[in-house]
Symmetry: C2
Subunit: 222 residues, 2 copies
């Protein structure tokens, strides 16, 4: 007989979260609303990519953005300027969003009149990867300045994303970044990942990403 008891706290936290996430997805399906969970490191260009995405898609679908941040409302202000509905979620120090927090956000936000809701998660390549938010699809951004070795160091994040956006390709001249190496590393972790090379700043490659996103929204909402 064991002399001590082992309690799997982490496992039960994840199991509860998974049930909650499934509930969020079922509700979104009923509302014909697609939720995209967008993750990345701080400063990889989530908000700029989002602005470029909104400007291409806002005439075709109703879009809303939920901006999660530990503090500050700079991103929600930037998104509000694009004219789409936006809300700021303050996590009060938490490094990620879980399904319960996402549900709170959705309740306050009111998503049933929206086709696409983007959840901009906290800037972090670690914790957000562990919690299913209830999103229909997960996407992440890796920016060129961060380096092509990031899939080796943050494998879970790259494994759980349906789409990986490589941003800031306009800055390649000043960084050593190997496109083939990064694709190979991502595909090894996640063979089904869709990979898009873009510059949210210049617009290069953004159309292909938006086409993919539009397909996902249409498939879910039809």
């Amino acid at each position: 007989m064991d002399e001590f008891k082992v309690i799997e706290i982490k496992k039960s936290v994840f199991e509860n979260n998974d049930r909650e996430a499934d509930r969020v997805r079922a509700r979104l399906k009923k509302e014909h609303t697609f939720l995209l969970n967008l993750m990345s490191s701080p400063g990889s260009g989530k908000t700029t990519t989002l602005k470029a995405t909104i400007s291409r898609l806002k005439d075709e679908m109703k879009i809303g953005v939920m901006e999660a941040d530990i503090d500050s409302s700079v991103d929600a202000k930037a998104i509000a300027d694009t004219g789409v509905k936006s809300i700021q979620l303050h996590t009060g120090g938490m490094c990620h969003l879980d399904a319960g927090m996402t549900e709170q956000g959705i309740n306050e936000f009111g998503t049933d009149d929206l086709d696409l809701v983007v959840l901009e998660n906290v800037g972090n390549l670690v914790c957000p990867a562990e919690f299913d938010t209830g999103a229909v699809k997960n996407a992440m951004i890796l920016s060129v300045p961060e380096g092509d070795d990031k899939p080796l160091k943050y494998p879970l994040m790259f494994s759980i994303c349906d789409a990986v956006i490589i941003n800031k390709i306009d800055t390649k001249s000043v960084f050593d970044f190997d496109d083939d190496a990064v694709v190979e590393r991502i595909k090894k972790l996640n063979p089904k990942a869709e990979i898009f090379f873009i510059s949210a700043k210049t617009g290069e490659g953004v159309d292909a990403w938006c086409d993919w996103l539009k397909q996902q929204v249409n498939a879910w909402c039809k």
Copy 2:
């Protein structure tokens, strides 16, 4: 009136490990060993900065590096190539190091023959800021491509660091980065912070950072 709403989702997961951290520091004081906790986002150049620092200081003091990563040993390999003692700590999914984990690392590593030990924390601007590792000083790196707004979005990290290194200044031509704005934002959070503008790649500004670090080590170890 604001065009967006702010919701406070407050969930505290912070556990106080201050006592353990103080115990680590008392032990280091006895050993005449200085521990630096180095933090940043993924890809801001922690390892490259460390290599540039080691090459300048290794003839004057005995240096060791503890590399914390969720997975992989790419950084420890890079540091081992510089000829200093190094160890890789795998956090097994954890997004930060606390004092207990740091103590485990120190026990395994054996630090009493070293003057300076650098703890390269997990790439993350959120969680590592909440946990005192037992280090004598905290330093962080913000790289130019991440943007000058990061002190607004990750205030705790900027508040708890004794030194803030702004890295990759050689890439300024391709980014909008306002030096004065970033200094003002950091000083507002943390008036005593020492701020260094460097390029770990070209070596620009690295001497000033190393001079400061040397002073800190000498003051602690005398």
